[in-house]
């Protein structure tokens, strides 16, 4: 990515491109990955409410997974889930498991 010069950027650090934080891959910060046990999940949406990064993927009122591009692995979802359906797995281990 070519960085802009000081004459090419809007003063004061303003961002006029609303929602462009999506372009920032906070997923790279993650050391632990949340894994949902779909057999235990009741789709109560508590994790969706609590996730600070909007990384709980939902479709048709059902939790379908985690947006790994943005999930930074904070573990809040796992902590809040009343069904203990989410476990935090070390990223390296989770990657191996996924392969």
């Amino acid at each position: 990515m070519t960085l802009k010069t000081w004459t090419e950027i809007l003063a004061g650090g303003l961002i006029t491109d609303a929602g462009n934080s999506e372009e920032y891959e906070t997923g790279s910060w993650r050391s632990h990955r949340p894994i949902i046990d779909m057999d235990r999940c009741t789709h109560c949406m508590i994790c969706w409410i609590y996730c600070p990064d909007g990384s709980i993927l939902v479709s048709d009122a059902k939790v379908t997974g985690i947006d790994l591009t943005h999930c930074k692995g904070c573990g809040i979802c796992a902590h809040e889930c009343p069904r203990k359906a989410i476990s935090m797995v070390e990223e390296a281990v989770a990657k191996e498991g996924a392969q």
Binding site: W6, G12, G13, I15
Partner: protein
């Protein structure tokens, strides 16, 4: 814009009340302030205007100066005109958020009534407070008289909001000396002030939900430096624009303002440089010395940030000896803040006249004409005999 001369109303007011009148006439959207001597009278008087319905201002009596500046930042980002007033420790308590205001390029206006910084506890005037904020990215003007406090308060808004500047602006009036000292001044008609300041049209108001904008994001190593360079450039542009606004103000008030004012300076051999009300005392002494045949002059600096180095060097280049009067100390530095700026300006313009630095008036110590006479005597002496003792001196100190 007002192009015709308007008739001012002569009144007798102290500096605080004159500033309160200016704020009333500017009618900002938000004033957030916390009382502190010797500024209290500004917000006290202004809150009466609010209570009487004379302004539309949302007045926020916050719990601290840190909160006052924070509220102004929020109000300004939202797209409103925001102002505050403070003094001494109050300004020091704002320090962190002063940088947020300037870094976010918010045209907030602040009225500072200069007060020393504790300890020991002292409520009287010196410039330690505003000088402590000199690197915070705010434009800084200094007032000599109550009239100037009123005039600079109004011009500060135009300077801050100028699209090529967009920097918070403060003007400083000497605590008690101007803040509580009653002087004659002329108040402009309300409509003249309103037409001079115009309607503020913010470029990116946070409350414009159709054009969403984020204020204050985190900026890391990749762009932070670039934003700081922009602030430096805005300060450079302000050097051009501040006198233009001062000129425009003069066209309808008859009172023209530049970055500095020379008083019998052009043909002077011995010059002093000062900020604030002390300039008035110096003018009296200059007149007395001129009567005695001494070619004395004064350079009164109105604008300290940005520092008008070039015009200052041009005005001082031919002087035999110069005294810089600093109403604050920069402990461990090679002189006061004003002195260091002047020396740098002279050096970078290839000039090396004899220059003395006087710290004076700390904690409100009176600066009387006899002391200023001493300064000119010293200048004449070093011109004749060269510098025999330190160039850093303390004026009015018991030694």
């Amino acid at each position: 814009m007002v192009s015709q001369k308007v008739k001012g109303k002569p009144v007798a007011l102290d500096g605080d009340r004159a500033v309160a009148e200016a704020i009333r006439q500017m009618n900002p959207d938000v004033v957030a302030a916390y009382p502190i001597t010797p500024q209290t009278e500004i917000v006290m008087r202004f809150s009466e205007f609010v209570a009487n319905g004379e302004v539309v201002t949302e007045f926020i009596p916050v719990e601290s100066e840190h909160a006052a500046m924070s509220a102004c930042i929020g109000a300004s980002a939202a797209g409103g005109r925001a102002q505050t007033a403070t003094a001494g420790a109050g300004l020091a308590f704002m320090w962190e958020v002063l940088w947020v205001a300037s870094g976010t390029r918010l045209p907030i206006v602040m009225h500072v009534v200069n007060r020393s910084l504790s300890a020991p506890l002292n409520i009287h005037c010196d410039h330690s407070d505003s000088m402590g904020a000199r690197d915070a990215g705010w434009i800084q003007l200094y007032d000599e008289t109550v009239q100037e406090a009123y005039d600079n308060a109004i011009q500060a808004l135009r300077i801050a909001e100028h699209p090529d500047i967009m920097l918070p602006t403060l003007h400083a009036l000497d605590g008690f000396i101007l803040g509580h000292g009653v002087e004659r001044l002329e108040l402009l008609p309300d409509d003249a002030v309103r037409s001079f300041i115009g309607i503020y049209e913010p470029q990116h108001p946070l409350l414009d939900v159709d054009h969403p904008v984020t204020y204050g994001p985190m900026v890391l190593t990749d762009y932070f430096f670039e934003y700081k360079r922009q602030q430096a450039a805005a300060m450079e542009r302000a050097l051009e624009i501040i006198p233009q606004i001062g000129e425009e103000y003069g066209t309808f008030t008859g009172r023209y303002y530049g970055l500095m004012e020379g008083y019998r300076l052009e043909d002077a051999e011995f010059a002093t440089i000062a900020l604030g009300s002390t300039a008035g005392t110096i003018k009296t002494v200059v007149d007395e010395l001129r009567d005695q045949g001494v070619k004395a002059g004064l350079l009164k600096l109105r604008c300290f940030r940005p520092f008008p180095a070039t015009i200052l060097a041009e005005a001082l280049g031919d002087k035999k000896a110069i005294a810089v009067l600093d109403r604050s100390l920069s402990f461990g530095a090679q002189g006061g803040p004003l002195f260091l700026e002047v020396i740098t300006a002279l050096f970078t313009h290839g000039l090396s006249p004899k220059v003395l630095n006087y710290a004076y008036g700390l904690g409100g110590r009176d600066i009387v004409p006899a002391r200023i006479h001493q300064v000119y005597k010293d200048l004449i002496e070093i011109d004749r005999e060269g510098l025999t003792e330190s160039s850093i001196r303390y004026l009015g100190l018991r030694e």
